[in-house]
């Protein structure tokens, strides 16, 4: 079970959080300009990475705020957390 550091509340047990899936998916400004396939990509298609994954978590049983987590899907190690609107950290080499 993970320990996740909420940017506002600090480290907390995973049971306090809700998983939100891949981060940095921006809702298209003009949906009508998209083909069905492009719109389908936005609605359905998600990365299934082995390794570094940028994802959203919400502190559902805490401050109820959403934020971003950089997590390794193999080791489950959380490399960083950052607030919405902040850009993803540089990928560590």
């Amino acid at each position: 079970m993970l320990i996740i550091t909420c940017p506002w509340c600090g480290p907390r047990d995973q049971t306090e959080f809700a998983y939100g899936g891949e981060a940095h998916i921006v809702r298209p400004k003009d949906p009508d300009a998209l083909t069905d396939e492009q719109w389908g990509d936005y609605v359905f298609m998600r990365k299934n990475v082995r390794g570094r994954h940028l994802e959203q978590w919400g502190h559902a049983y805490g401050c109820r705020r959403w934020f971003n987590v950089e997590r390794d899907t193999v080791t489950y190690a959380i490399k960083s957390v950052y607030k919405p609107g902040e850009s993803a950290p540089e990928e560590a080499k």
């Binding site: 079970m1 993970l2 320990i3 809700a18 939100g20 921006v26 809702r27 298209p28 949906p31 009508d32 998209l34 069905d36 719109w39 389908g40 936005y42 609605v43 359905f44 959203q56 919400g58 559902a60 109820r64 705020r65 959403w66 080791t75 489950y76 919405p84 609107g85």
Partner: protein, 1003 residues
């Protein structure tokens, strides 16, 4: 004679405390300090079970978690425990146990006839024999289960309670043997907060069964006692005996099951039976020990064939005389300890049969000095005997070691101790995501690189001698303490006497047999699952090359011991058959739980009323006092209907419906989700989350909204009221309140953080009474003088502030029934007062309280949907015929999806009404709709019934359904076939059965 096989002295047992117990209906006695297994052996009970497949007689093999045969049903009735290992059961006065796998008794087992057919039951016999014809599988399975099953689950509710505890520590030590105690002492003396968990009642592990060994001059068992005393005196240490670390999860989260009362007589048990510790440890020291491997030779499952370590333990720790004459069969030095222990206890050791040549280690030398014959370069090819071992057939190995040669000779014995070496208990390391690696020199799997903050020490690290256990333990304790910020150093190495330096073992995975494979007596690899070497060889021949597949094909490592005893032998035999290395063959996955855990322990206290919050409205007590039947809606208890004397559900609902349509009725609507939305961008936000437009909604007006997900599917609905220019009150479905709140919050925070919109969940702030029916206006007028209820002043879909029954109220004129109706919202603590005032005011009109069932009928008569009942996450507003609610000229969540080629199809399942041919027949909800049920299967499915009721007002049944291209099929005949063979005929109709013009509510 009682305890006929007890040694005259010795053992860590209290001979002054006699404990009486019953096994298979017969009374026995044991001593405090016994396990059920040791007490049975002390009474000469060696036949304790029948094997599951062949019903062969079986005895006690091991002395701990690895025991495959002595699996018992403990106690009876509600307290019964299936599949307890007798080796792990502490004896208590009055204990009742029975064998699980034989009938009527292990000595006279009717199913043992299966042995005659054992050649017909090879690996995979289930799949080969019984899967065809498929239709009979269920029948076969019933009898197979009956013939083979393990224990019986209790049929009554569990009378025990269970506990959970969260704990944090610097260092968790799993295992309280020599390595674990050394680690704990070093870490704790440095000041670290330490938890030590050990599965036994007394910590000390193998030290408690040792004989003649001293640590710094102190007898080993006494050293363990001193260590435990020191630890228990330290405030930074928590000792958890009778506790198994059964799971090692991410981020050093470990689960420990502490058994608190199982060692007590049933009547003396108080408090929680088990407590699961949920431990977050900064550092973990694994000191879980090792499990001795059996040797795989013919009839190695006969009662009286035991692991050498179990022989030592029962002899030294429990003072049991295991036999008169013993043979020890080994490929390593450690088993000589068992020979010496037997010799010291006065048991004749006829021979030690050692597969190795030139055996010169310290223990073998000591054995020879004691006059025990050692037969080198030889093996026991077969145990002889009926219900108990009576002799060992010994043959010499040839130069290759792959075959036996020469004439065999029989050595009479009634005890056969065996040791094939040791398998480190790498389970927790593997669970923590570490990968065990095969160590060729030690011929065992040892822990690999740690994936988490853990290290393995002692026998579970492949370091089997006592010097290494203590040294590694202390070093690991110091390292773990230092990593958590304490100044620690390992303690100096103690002096161990006699030295236990050993010669290396020689791997012996499958004892050569004089007969060709499959022809000699069975050589068991996994006795619990009756898997013999021939089964694994057969699996390999049949093309099963992955160990995971072989496991499932042969059942190797299934059951209560999960391969602790036999798996490594099985993997090695498979490796040899496939001509590859053991390392390349690998192990099956080590998954939690290390040992079987009870459902009670996992559930803990989260049962019944504590499983989930129960939410009750402010009027709940009134409903109870007035005979309401309740139903669960989400976490809420909602009145379902209010039966009068003699009424069933249907009679009550018919009466309630007619009251609402003809006069006035009242419903508690407090459970609807309510979200207070404020801020200058509130209307803009609503435009995005609902399909319809909100900017122009006037203050004081209400509007129904439909919420879609981005896929264009309906996810919630409800009425939202504009309380002020920048202030809305949204209602959601009862079950969807939390989901909608989270949904809105997420969009605001992650997509539109620049919006000035503030959300507050106010569901619990208000109590809501819906007053419904033609007389509702009269009722409201009687209790509220400061609102003008005339149709012109207070039109449909509007809201007014006022004073109802003397208290401030928000009154909405909205309707979920199609009738003139008002919803009165007041502060929750005033809910019952206002409810009673409304009841009082309505009495002249026969005001009738109603529940969710009547609400459903009333809304279905009007064709109003329930999200989640008439929709299922695949339904668009267009499918519901609600095109009118889709605003043009603005974007909203899900809009673009409505233009996708699939959502635009005109033959999607669409909401329709169904009218049965016989108006008395009510269709079952979920019923499948077909055009013609008489055509050959598969009959094309058109859709299904989503809502179905009897409408008292319309005096006929009505139903809603989703049907392919339903909007074009009004008037068409369809059929609903039922499971009992009946076919109900119905006609597709408009989903609005009553007042499509809305005349009833516009009055």
């Amino acid at each position: 004679m009682s305890q006929s096989h007890r040694l005259p002295r010795g053992g860590r047992i209290d001979r002054s405390r006699v404990l009486r117990f019953t096994f298979n209906g017969r009374p026995y006695e044991g001593f405090a300090g016994d396990t059920l297994a040791s007490a049975l052996l002390a009474n000469g009970v060696t036949l304790v079970a029948r094997s599951w497949k062949y019903h062969r007689p079986r005895g006690i093999v091991g002395s701990g978690v690895e025991e495959p045969n002595a699996v018992v049903q403990l106690e009876t009735g509600a307290y019964t425990v299936p599949n307890a290992r007798a080796t792990e059961v502490e004896l208590y006065d009055g204990l009742v146990a029975s064998s699980v796998n034989c009938w009527p008794s292990p000595g006279f087992d009717l199913m043992s006839v299966a042995r005659c057919f054992s050649r017909l039951m090879p690996a995979g016999f289930y799949y080969k024999t019984f899967m065809w014809p498929k239709s009979l599988w269920m029948k076969y399975e019933h009898f197979i289960r009956k013939a083979s099953g393990l224990g019986t689950a209790p049929g009554e509710a569990d009378p025990d309670s269970y506990d959970k505890m969260n704990a944090h520590c610097d260092v968790l030590v799993a295992g309280g043997g020599p390595a674990g105690l050394a680690a704990a002492l070093t870490a704790a003396q440095a000041g670290a907060r330490v938890i030590v968990a050990d599965e036994q009642a007394e910590m000390g592990g193998t030290l408690l069964a040792s004989r003649g060994c001293t640590i710094d001059g102190v007898p080993a068992a006494q050293w363990a006692e001193q260590a435990v005393r020191k630890l228990s005196a330290m405030p930074n240490v928590r000792l958890l005996p009778r506790s198994t670390v059964f799971g090692y999860h991410d981020y050093n989260f470990l689960t420990v099951a502490e058994r608190r009362t199982d060692h007590l007589p049933v009547a003396a048990r108080k408090g929680a039976r088990e407590r699961v510790w949920r431990v977050r440890a900064k550092q973990v020291v694994l000191a879980a020990g090792a499990i001795e491997r059996p040797l795989v030779f013919g009839n190695n499952d006969l009662p009286g064939v035991m692991l050498a370590s179990a022989v030592s333990r029962f002899t030294n720790r429990h003072g049991v005389r295991l036999g008169q004459r013993a043979v020890v069969f080994t490929n390593n030095d450690s088993a000589y300890q068992a020979a010496l222990d037997l010799h010291a206890a006065g048991v004749e050791v006829a021979a030690v049969v050692d597969a190795r040549a030139s055996v010169l280690g310290a223990l073998p030398t000591a054995a020879r000095s004691a006059g025990i014959p050692v037969i080198e370069r030889s093996v026991v090819v077969e145990a002889r005997g009926g219900k108990r071992v009576a002799g060992a057939q010994v043959m010499a190995l040839d130069a290759s070691g792959e075959r036996v040669q020469g004439a065999g000779r029989r050595i009479d014995c009634d005890l056969l101790a065996m040791s094939g070496g040791w398998s480190p208990a790498v389970h927790l390391h593997a669970q923590s995501n570490g990968k065990a690696r095969y160590d060729e020199a030690k011929a065992c799997f040892v822990p690999g690189m740690p994936a988490q903050a853990e290290r393995s020490v002692g026998a579970c690290n492949g370091s089997f001698d006592l010097e290494s256990c203590l040294a590694e333990g202390s070093a690991a304790g110091a390292q773990a303490a230092r990593l958590t910020g304490f100044d620690a150093a390992p303690s100096p190495a103690p002096k161990i006497e006699p030295a236990t330096r050993e010669q290396p073992l020689e791997p012996l995975w499958l004892v050569p047999s004089p007969q060709p494979p499959g022809h000699g007596p069975k050589q068991f690899v996994d006795p619990q699952n009756d898997v013999a070497a021939s089964d694994i060889l057969l699996a390999a021949r049949e093309g099963y090359h992955s160990i995971e597949h072989v496991k499932r094909y042969t059942a190797l490592g299934f059951g209560t011991d999960q391969g602790k005893l036999g798996n490594i032998n099985g993997m090695a035999i498979l490796a040899k058959a496939l001509g590859q290395s053991i390392a390349a063959t690998g192990t099956t996955t080590f998954r939690p739980n290390y040992t079987p855990q009870t459902f009670g322990a996992i559930a803990g206290p989260d049962l019944g009323e504590l499983f989930e919050p129960i939410r009750k409205t402010a009027m709940h007590a009134w409903h109870e006092e007035n005979g309401a039947r309740f139903e669960n809606v989400g976490q809420w208890k909602r009145p379902w209907y209010f039966p009068k004397a003699g009424e069933d559900l249907h009679a009550a609902v018919n009466r309630e419906c007619l009251a609402a349509r003809n006069a006035v009725a009242i419903m508690d609507a407090s459970t609807l989700g309510k979200i207070d939305i404020q801020g200058p961008d509130a209307a803009t936000f609503l435009n995005l989350v609902y399909t319809n437009a909100w900017s122009k909604l006037g203050v004081g007006r209400c509007r129904y909204g439909l919420m879609l997900d981005e896929n264009g599917m309906v996810m919630d609905d409800g009425v939202t009221t504009r309380l002020g220019e920048n202030h809305f009150l949204m209602t959601t479905t009862t079950g969807g309140a939390a989901r909608v709140m989270a949904w809105l919050e997420r969009w605001l925070q992650t997509e539109w953080p620049h919006f000035k919109v503030y959300l507050t969940s106010v569901t619990d702030h208000f109590a809501t009474a819906a007053v419904v029916g033609p007389k509702s206006r009269e009722v409201l007028k009687a209790v509220c003088k400061d609102i003008d209820f005339s149709p012109e002043a207070f039109p449909f879909m509007s809201y007014r502030d006022g004073t109802v029954a003397g208290v401030p109220a928000k009154v909405m004129r909205i309707s979920f029934s199609g009738e003139l109706a008002y919803e009165v919202n007041v502060a929750a603590h005033l809910g019952r007062h206002v409810w009673e005032a409304l009841m009082q005011a309505g009495r002249p009109f026969g005001i009738t309280p109603y529940g969710t069932e009547t609400m459903h009928v009333l809304r279905a008569e009007k064709g109003f949907i329930i999200v989640g009942q008439d929709t299922d996450g695949s339904v668009t507003p267009v499918d519901l015929g609600m095109d009118w609610i889709i605003a043009k000229g603005k974007d909203f969540i899900g809009r673009r999806s409505l233009a996708r080629s699939d959502t635009r199809r005109d033959d999607r399942k669409q909401l329709v009404g169904l009218l049965t041919e016989d108006p008395r027949t009510v269709l079952p909800e979920g019923g499948q709709i077909v055009k013609d049920a008489s055509v050959p299967a598969p009959v094309p499915m058109l859709g299904h019934v989503t809502s179905s009721y009897f409408s008292a007002f319309l005096d006929r049944s009505i139903a809603l359904a989703v049907v392919k291209a339903g909007s074009r099929r009004h008037g068409e005949e369809v059929q609903v076939p039922l499971a009992d063979g009946r076919v109900i005929r119905a006609k597709i109709a408009s989903p609005v059965f009553l007042d499509p013009e809305g005349a009833r509510q516009n009055v």
